[in-house]
């Protein structure tokens, strides 16, 4: 049944083109193997499908695969595939296709980042027969199914891949309910219905192709403009709505979908590798002074809930500890005194040995919403009250990465989306402090804690669900108690639906799917 009932007057009908307006950046390549960011995931979920899916409760489901089996040592994985699916160019989906896709992800010329990390450990791919493929891993990887459920590792037609990157970027060929028809840069991507769609999708409520004739996927970067377009009926669905518009939507009969992204929560990471946050007392002082809760309530108008966990609330293994983050400016001041930050500059900033208690905080204007930037301003003001000088620097994405790469930050907020708690390993394992050749490293807190590494390694390699849960909980506790992060809320992922019914989101990275959608008249 459709997920949300339309209001009484609108009766759903078949056909028509749904207009979707996204506020995320326009992808530079429609193939999510290349690079691999959330905007690509949003769009490619409409035409590419992964081997596995995931339910809202975190249970893994087969999608293009039907079954899987793991060896005792966790190094060999046997995957059974569907035999009734073809790519939209007519190429059959089979074990050879899976092999070609994994190899494509691992090929340096593809320049894949997210997908590459997901399949990094697959050492050997063996085509057993058309419907059976065997992976041999270099190290055990408990998160392999989650890794293969991500949009960034979705399956593409080998014939399509063979066309070369330039062509494949413009119109990747998959098995999804829609097909890329045309891409008009800076304007829209036109998607048409895949008439031969086989409803492998675990979320599909019917067999056969989607109801819609197609989707026009428009890029409208400005949030106010996007909302105005929804209000005037130009578009049917928007993402990244403003909190105020979400609140107003309820009165206007506009459907609101709140689908937080999985994996990591949104948090501020404190750079533990350099002063002043190399001192845990200073970190704790900052966290006790920041007091983000009132701001979250007023800025997000009740659309976001305060988090006390490194993981998203949709992750079943999320562990939170509210006590650790109780606001207490007096305690913060005492901690700073204790840490030796006792002198005061003219502007009230604390000093120690002639150095100011400065916190450089580069903010990516592409990744942080306006409300989030305002929240940082409030944290800045609250921290200033106990003597921190927080220097907010809103910058474009490349400058922001530049600042991170050069370690010119004491605090930073960086989103990270994959599927499952394995994200903890990426974000907090000491190996994450070593930059990739491009200069990027994921462990912005620069945590290098042996017990934490041990817990994360164990969790990654065990196949026992209970032990995995225990080890991830331990890891999260260590992270929280180190005061290296200040959790804020789930990664916000809201949709407003004005002219359609049956829009749902996938349980993997919460991208919307329109396989069940119909336009309201």
């Amino acid at each position: 049944a459709p997920a949300a009932p339309g209001d009484g007057a609108a009766s759903p009908s078949a056909g028509g083109t749904l207009v979707y307006a996204t506020g995320d950046a326009e992808p530079t390549c429609l193939d999510p193997h290349v690079g691999g960011n959330y905007p690509q995931a949003l769009l490619s979920s409409q035409y590419l499908e992964p081997l596995f899916g995931r339910d809202a409760d975190g249970t893994m489901r087969p999608w293009l695969a039907t079954d899987w089996e793991t060896s005792e040592d966790g190094l060999t994985w046997d995957i059974t595939l569907r035999d009734d699916v073809s790519f939209t160019d007519g190429t059959p989906f089979d074990a050879e296709a899976v092999k070609a896709n994994i190899e494509h992800l691992q090929d340096p010329d593809t320049a894949s980042s997210t997908g590459y990390l997901a399949v990094e450990q697959i050492e050997q791919i063996e085509v057993v027969d058309d419907t059976h493929v065997r992976f041999r891993l270099s190290t055990p990887k408990s998160a392999l199914l989650e890794a293969l459920s991500q949009p960034w590792t979705a399956m593409e037609s080998p014939a399509g891949l063979a066309r070369g990157q330039e062509e494949n970027c413009l119109a990747p060929i998959g098995t999804g309910p829609f097909v890329v028809q045309e891409w008009t840069p800076q304007q829209s991507v036109t998607l048409t219905r895949n008439e031969d769609y086989v409803a492998s999708n675990p979320h599909a409520d019917h067999d056969g192709p989607a109801h819609l004739d197609g989707i026009e996927w428009r890029f409208i970067p400005d949030a106010a403009t996007r909302q105005a377009a929804l209000a005037s009926g130009e578009v049917d669905v928007i993402d990244n709505p403003l909190p105020a518009d979400i609140v107003a939507a309820q009165q206007q009969g506009i459907e609101h979908i709140d689908a937080p992204r999985p994996a990591s929560s949104n948090r501020i990471e404190l750079n533990t590798a350099q002063p002043p946050f190399d001192d845990v007392r200073v970190r704790e002082a900052f966290i006790r002074a920041a007091d983000p809760t009132p701001g979250i309530e007023s800025l997000f108008l009740g659309t976001a809930e305060r988090s006390y966990s490194p993981l998203s609330s949709v992750e079943p293994l999320a562990y939170s500890d509210e006590e650790l983050f109780a606001t207490d400016p007096d305690a913060a001041a005492a901690l700073l005194d204790e840490a030796g930050w006792t002198d005061a500059a003219d502007d009230g900033t604390r000093m120690k040995d002639g150095a100011r208690l400065t916190v450089r905080f580069p903010v990516s204007t592409d990744q942080s919403t306006a409300a989030e930037q305002s929240l940082f301003e409030q944290i800045q003001a609250n921290a200033a009250a106990v003597g921190f000088d927080v220097v907010l620097d809103p910058v474009d994405l490349s400058t922001w990465y530049g600042a991170l790469g050069a370690h010119e930050y004491e605090a930073v907020s960086a989103p990270y989306t994959i599927v499952g708690p394995d994200v903890l390993r990426i974000l907090y394992h000491s190996s994450g402090t070593v930059p990739a050749p491009s200069g990027y490293f994921a462990n912005h807190a620069m945590l290098q804690v042996p017990e934490l590494d041990a817990a994360l390694d164990a969790a990654a390699s065990t196949l026992d669900p209970d032990e995995r849960a225990e080890r991830y909980t331990e890891a999260q506790r260590i992270v929280l108690e180190s005061f290296a992060i200040l959790p804020l809320y789930d990664q916000q992922n809201h949709f407003l639906v004005g002219g359609a019914t049956g829009v749902t989101t996938l349980g993997t990275v919460a991208t919307p799917t329109f396989v069940n959608a119909r336009l309201a008249d």
């Binding site: 105020a244 800025l299 003001a381 907010l392 474009d396």
Partner: protein, 266 residues
């Protein structure tokens, strides 16, 4: 005085006087702290307690506008000063220098002209990163060719004028002719142009802030306020309307005064 100014001139002067106070001593007009947050009283519409309402962090909009005058006008003034400085250097050199120098500077001016202000700003931001300095530099560079061209043609006009010719005929040495006639007659009229330019520069700076290339928050710079508030335009329109009005009013007042100055100089 009033009769010569007209009511629009008087209103413009009053506006600028208010702006002057806000720049020099903002606390006289609004003693509160423009950065003090109060999430509990966020998004208050205009009321006697907050005549222009409060913003998303509960800061008073009026207080912020008053305290932001210095930043906004400051950027406008600096950008204009840079533009005029460059323009004057180029203009004098081109207007008085040898032919080859004039030709070379003519190309420089043409190149600068061929890059519209925001295009230039985007380039500079790509090179220097966003921020106040980039804004000032971008606006300064973008306006410089305008000043240079005005000045060059004026310098040429004055240098070839009958009164300079007459002075030279009487045996006045070149340098004295420059300080006595050329410089005053070319630079004074530029004051009016500069007044107009400051108003324009403030508007440009605010446009840069809109593109996310301006002054970092939480500075109450008007363009930044306007940009931050625009997100809430349907929910809290006062966050957009009032800083916008401050920009438009300042630029209008400067334009009116500038035109009067220009008119009087001619």
């Amino acid at each position: 005085m009033r009769s010569r100014l007209g009511w629009s001139g008087a209103a413009a002067l009053a506006c600028l006087a208010l702006l002057g106070v806000a720049i020099i001593a903002p606390s006289v007009l609004a003693p509160q702290d423009p950065l003090a947050i109060d999430p509990a009283s966020a998004f208050r519409p205009p009321s006697p307690g907050h005549p222009l309402g409060t913003d998303e962090s509960g800061r008073d909009v009026l207080v912020r506008i008053v305290h932001g005058a210095a930043a906004s006008a400051g950027i406008g003034v600096w950008a204009t000063a840079l533009g005029i400085g460059l323009g004057v250097a180029i203009g004098f050199a081109a207007g008085l220098g040898p032919r080859w120098l004039e030709a070379a500077l003519g190309r420089v001016v043409e190149v600068l002209f061929a890059l519209p202000t925001l295009v230039m700003a985007l380039l500079l931001v790509a090179v220097l990163g966003p921020g106040t300095q980039s804004s000032v530099l971008a606006i300064g560079l973008a306006t410089a060719p305008g000043y240079a061209r005005i000045l060059r043609s004026r310098v040429r006009g004055v240098a070839r004028s009958d009164y300079v010719a007459y002075a030279r005929l009487e045996g006045t040495p070149p340098l004295r002719a420059f300080t006595r006639h050329i410089a005053p007659n070319t630079l004074w009229p530029l004051v009016a142009t500069a007044t107009l330019g400051i108003g324009q520069a403030i508007v440009w700076v605010s446009a840069l802030s809109f593109l996310g290339l301006g002054t970092p928050p939480p500075s109450p710079e008007w363009g930044a306020m306007l940009d931050a508030g625009r997100v809430y335009i349907s929910y809290a329109p006062w966050l957009t309307i009032f800083p916008g009005l401050a920009i438009v009013a300042t630029a209008t007042a400067l334009t009116v005064v500038g035109r009067r100055l220009g008119g009087a100089g001619r």
